[in-house]
Structure formats: structure tokens, C-alpha cells
Symmetry: C2
Subunit: 416 residues, 2 copies
Amino acid sequence: MNAGARLCVQKYGGTSVADPDRLRAVGARIVRRLESGTGVVVVVSAMGKTTDDLIKLAHQVTARPGGRELDMLLSTGEMVSSALLAMVLRERGHPAIGLTGAQAGVRTDSTFNRARITEIDTRRIEAELAQDQVVIIAGFQGITSEADVTTLGRGGSDTTAVALAAALGAKTAEIYTDVDGVYTTDPRVDPKARKLHDIAYEEMLEMAAQGARVLHPRAVELGLLYDVPILVASSFRDTVPGTIIRRQVAMEPTNRVRGIALDRDVAAVTVRAVPDRPGIAAQLFGPLADAAISVDTIVQNASVERLTDLTFSVAQDDWRRAQEIVEPVARAIGAAEVIADHHMAKVSIVGTGMQTAPGYAATMFRALAEASINIQLITTSDIRITALVADASGEAAVRVLHAAFQLDEPVEASRD
Amino acid sequence: MNAGARLCVQKYGGTSVADPDRLRAVGARIVRRLESGTGVVVVVSAMGKTTDDLIKLAHQVTARPGGRELDMLLSTGEMVSSALLAMVLRERGHPAIGLTGAQAGVRTDSTFNRARITEIDTRRIEAELAQDQVVIIAGFQGITSEADVTTLGRGGSDTTAVALAAALGAKTAEIYTDVDGVYTTDPRVDPKARKLHDIAYEEMLEMAAQGARVLHPRAVELGLLYDVPILVASSFRDTVPGTIIRRQVAMEPTNRVRGIALDRDVAAVTVRAVPDRPGIAAQLFGPLADAAISVDTIVQNASVERLTDLTFSVAQDDWRRAQEIVEPVARAIGAAEVIADHHMAKVSIVGTGMQTAPGYAATMFRALAEASINIQLITTSDIRITALVADASGEAAVRVLHAAFQLDEPVEASRD
């Protein structure tokens, strides 16, 4: 697309548009960008706690809100932000138009509450841009082929923004939020956390999936798929540079760990002394899937005397149901017992360099051991090593690893 | 339409759906109707004060909210009610679906903030009804041919309900609200007000236009146009019969005044000693129309020595602007002065029998005179006589006229 090069797509999250004053501040920021001669497409979230409030309202009328009507309900939050921000810009003398997801051409499948974008028909957006309108799009929502409103799941406005940047050919998707970038770890956990200048899509995915809540993982996946760089920056502090999420960044010679992720919403369920026969895993995990319990990590130890231990992790809300579902199966297959520990945390080191360089696992385990932190379970991917530890040790583990991999120090310093 | 006979269209206003408890009560009422074997299409307003709150929010970001984005903003209120009420019904085990105005096929022109319904494409509604869904439609809103959201103006959900009843061939449009029917006058003004069993469309139009806020006038116009009887009844008290608005009701032998209407949002502007030349009225009212000031009553006295007094009424919010606009024109055309009185009220007697029976005006003026209420201006239509009085006398005028036309007594008694 030709227009793309002079077009930017910006997304403002809920805290950035929480009240009229903040909406005005966002308006001022958009105007500065306009004045540089760029076309601007804006994606907005619902104001402040609106989505939570709407969910609470739904809970007051139904035991289990969900499905089509929940999406109709929740989609109103972003519509309100979009309409108000367009008013703010017009009040400043800039032509602006608010569009619902449907009007913006965001087509999705029919999986209510967590729909996937199938296509963006950009004709309306481009027609408005051609008339020098600032286009303000309600994020987080789309429309099915049956004209039903869908939502993309929590954090879905990030996904809307990256998908729009891809569809419109914009150079970057700019995500403005209440943090000023991606850090080596959560600064609330380790005050020594450093902001990264850039991070690779894959690394960010591991960081996000492991609990760094800066950006919705699907937005990063879309960025990776369509090669759309994503800028994460503060919506409050205009002068502070953010973090760019993009294709594989330059290797750093001595430090390939990019960040430490902590996920505290973890419960572990262990089925002990499981007979090591084919089909056992299917018998255990089939009923969990039927109950819509999302199983995260699964680890099965090497078999000893044809018996093995099988551990899996679930969100803390699910541990009791998971145990109830698994126990009768465990009895039926002759396992010894089912143990659940719902106070767990996952600590991960993430970095694209790791798969080709040995020694990271050893450094990680040694650092944790020296801090007397017990590792209950280990899993690895190409660019991540995760240790399951007691939740009480989670934050300490982050700080220990942050120091062990010299993330406390600026990148330049670590080259010495 | 065949289905129409076994179909009812119900509308619930803002106070009827103000909170989860009331939504549940509305749900129970709908279920009772379903159990009688009738298909139900429901139109809902925004919950409680939602629309006012959204307008306040708009005022916080723009000096003069309006246009396309205000409609996008306001339409969310009814979407929320619609989604929640569908959840309520599903929670009770009844299939139900919430539809936006757009999804329900409510097509309008592009006059944002006060759009007119041009057509209702009932295909989606009928498809859902065929699957035994209760169809819950967000009132007050529609969609243009450009897929922009519009609203129908305050009270527009009444209009949605009557238009839907006409389009679907339903026998009646049922409007459930916080009053239990149409009264001979506002019971807060005159405690002796009586509820009417029925009232003709034309009478109701005069009552509504003159300040009886029970039902949106355009809904009544639509009922008249498509001959859809409209039931107005309490959403809180199931057993109390309401009022039916329908074609010309049976004449009552001795009492053709059906009700007394009071409108207290009135300011009068008088241009004194206007030279009586052709084109003067156009010179005066053209600039007011350009400034979007809605002029209600216009009265021009008979000319004395080629000079006339010209009085018009506007809403109280507009009187100062109206005076500012008219003063230079008045000077230019050689009028003596412009006087504004912004504490006025209009009191009207309404009844379809009046045009053929003399004496009503005389009775009205005598009754007001006996109560020492000064009449500043008089206008009449076929079925209405209106007197402009000082606002401080407005309520007393209502009570005087209510008694003078024997509206205090049951209809049966007045036949003696």
C-alpha cells in the first residue's frame, strides 16, 4: 500500500484513556503526530475499569456470563472511548471519525469472547484517511459474517492495532500504555530491572506467555507473522523512548539472556506412580480438555520400574477442579496418588541466543541452588528455560537470576 | 405477516431496566407472556440515567457534543441493556438474543441525533423468532446506508417499538414504563387526575407535544400512520390496566375534553409595533432557523394602524439567543422593541370532540379568569386550545381546567 509509509497506527490502553483529562492528553499527542504530516489511525481500549465493570454487571444477572451477548456487552466500552476521542480531536479542530470494529472492517470468526481476526477490509478506513480524517477505531472487537459482534479476548486491542498496521501497510504499530517499555524483568519484582531498547518477537512471546503483561501475546504473534515492528512506549511520558519488538535483534556477544519472566498464577498437579503404558496421557488429559481446563506445562519423568510421575500446571483457579477430574482417572489406571500444590510460580529466562550456546541452564540452576531455592520442575524451549518453584520463592528467584545473567548492568558494560 | 397475530412487541424504558433486579423482573414478565404461547420481541432503553451520564461525559470533552460520534456514544447504552436482558432470559432457560439496531435491520436517514426510520428489514428478527428466540432489540438506534450508527432523539425507543410492531405485523405495541397509563393531566400537578382507558392518536399527540412526557410523539405519529394501537402500562405493577392509544375512541356524550397538558419549558419573545408589510415574518424567523432555534407557537395580532405585535415561544434554554438574534432585525425593520419573558407555561385542553362543539374556548377562558389567571397568548388547533400563562400560574391553571371540564369525575358519572 502506498499510503502506508506516511501512516502510523497507535494504540492507547485503558489507563491512557481513563478519564476526560487523559483523553485530552492523548488527543494532544495525536495532534503532534499529525503536524509532522503523518496520517494517524488510532485504536483505543475501554476507559479505565469499564470492561471489569461490565463483566461485574453481567455476573449480577447470570451465573456464567459468556457467549454472544457478553461480546455485545463488552464491545460498548471501546465504542465509548472511540466516540469520545474523536470528539476531543474535533474540539481541537482536527477532523476525526470514530469507527466500531465492524465499521473498520475487522472481520473475525464466530468464537465469541476470544475471536480471531480473519480479515480486515480497509476500504472504509482508507476512504476516511483520504479525507484527512483521524480514524479512531474501537479495539478488541470485530464482526462475524453473520453481523454478530465479537471480542478478541482480554488485551485484544493490541491485536487489533498490529493487525491494522499489517493490513494498512504501516511501518510500525505503536502501543502506548502505562509502562514505558519492556524490561528485563518486572521492575516491581526487581528494582534493578532495565528497559530494553529492542527485543525479538520470539523473545517477547516467551516473556509475555510467561507472565510479562506488557503486550498481548497474539499481538506479538501477528507482528511476527506479518513482520510489523511493535513499539511499546509510555502514553504519559512523551520523551521517554520505548522498546521496539522486531525481527531478531543484533546478537550481543556476552549476554544472550534478554529477560526474566515470572508467572505467579500457577498450580501444579502431580499424578504419582503412573503405570507407563501407551494411552495413559490421553486418558488423563482428555477429561481436562472436555472441562475446558487449560493445561500449561506437562512434564513426565523417565520411567523407573515401569512407573512414572506426571506433573502438569494449570491456572490457580483451576487446580481444585483439575484434581477432582484427574483423581478418578488416576485410580482407574492404577496410579498411586494425585498431589496438588496451588502455590507455585514459574520463573523463566528468555533469549534467542540460548539454543546455540550451552551453559545457561547450568548457570540458572546453580544460581537458584546458591540461593537455596528448590526447583520442582523444569521445562525448556528453544529460547526459554523455565523452573517451577514455590510461589514464596518466585520473586527472589527473579532477582537472583537477574543478577546471575548480569541484566542489572547496561548492555555496554557487560561487554567488558 | 402471518406470525404477527401471535407476536407481541414490548418496550421497557430506562427506569424499568435500571438495575439487575429490575432486569430480572422484566425477564419474569416476558416469561409469563412467552408461556401464553406468544412470540416476544422486546425493545429496551438504556439503564436508568445511562444516557444522561454519557452526555455528561461528552460535555467533558467537547463544548457542543453532537453529530455522528454522539450517536456512536449514546447507542452503547441500549446495547448494554439488550445484552443483559438476553442474559437474564437465558439464565431462566429461555433462548434469547440481543440485537443492536443495525442487526435488527432498523435503517434510518443520516440525520444524526434525531434520525428518522426509513425502513425495517425484519429478516434477522424473523429468523430468530422462527428459532423460538426472544429477540431483545436495542431501542433508540438505527444504521444509515453508510453503516453509521444513528439515534432517533430522546424517547426514540418508543418509536423503535411502534415501528417494529408495524413492520412485524404485531397487534399492539406495548410500552412498559414507570407510569401506569395516560392521565387526564399530570397527577403530580393535579392529584385528581384520572387514568384514561383509551385515547385517540391525535389527542395523545397534542397531549405529548404539550408536555405530557408519557410517550414520544413520533411513536404516536407512527401508530397513527400504520394504525398500530399502543398500550402504555406500568412495568412494575402487572395487574393494573394501562391506557390504549388507538384510532378515534367512542364519543362521550357530555365531555369531549380528554386531558389537560402543561408545558413549563416556555419562553415568549414579543416584537412590538412591527410595521405590517409582506416579508417581515421571513426576515424575523429566517435567522432563528439558521441558528437552529426551534420556534414553537407564533401569534401575530391583527394590525392596528399598520403596526402589529408578533409573539413567538421558544424553549427556555433558547430565549436569550433568540432575543439577541431578533433585536437587530427588529431595529432594521423599524419595530418598537423586543420583550422576552422566559417564565411562561402553556396550558392546553385536548379532545377530538372539540372542533365540532362550540363553547370549549369560552369555558376555558372563563374558568381561568375566575381564578384570576391572566392569559397572555392563545392558539388553537382542531383538537386543542392552548393558553400561554405566567409559569407561576401554570399548575393552578391545570387544576382549574381539570375541574372546569369535569375530568375529576369518572366518565360514567359525567353522563348524569
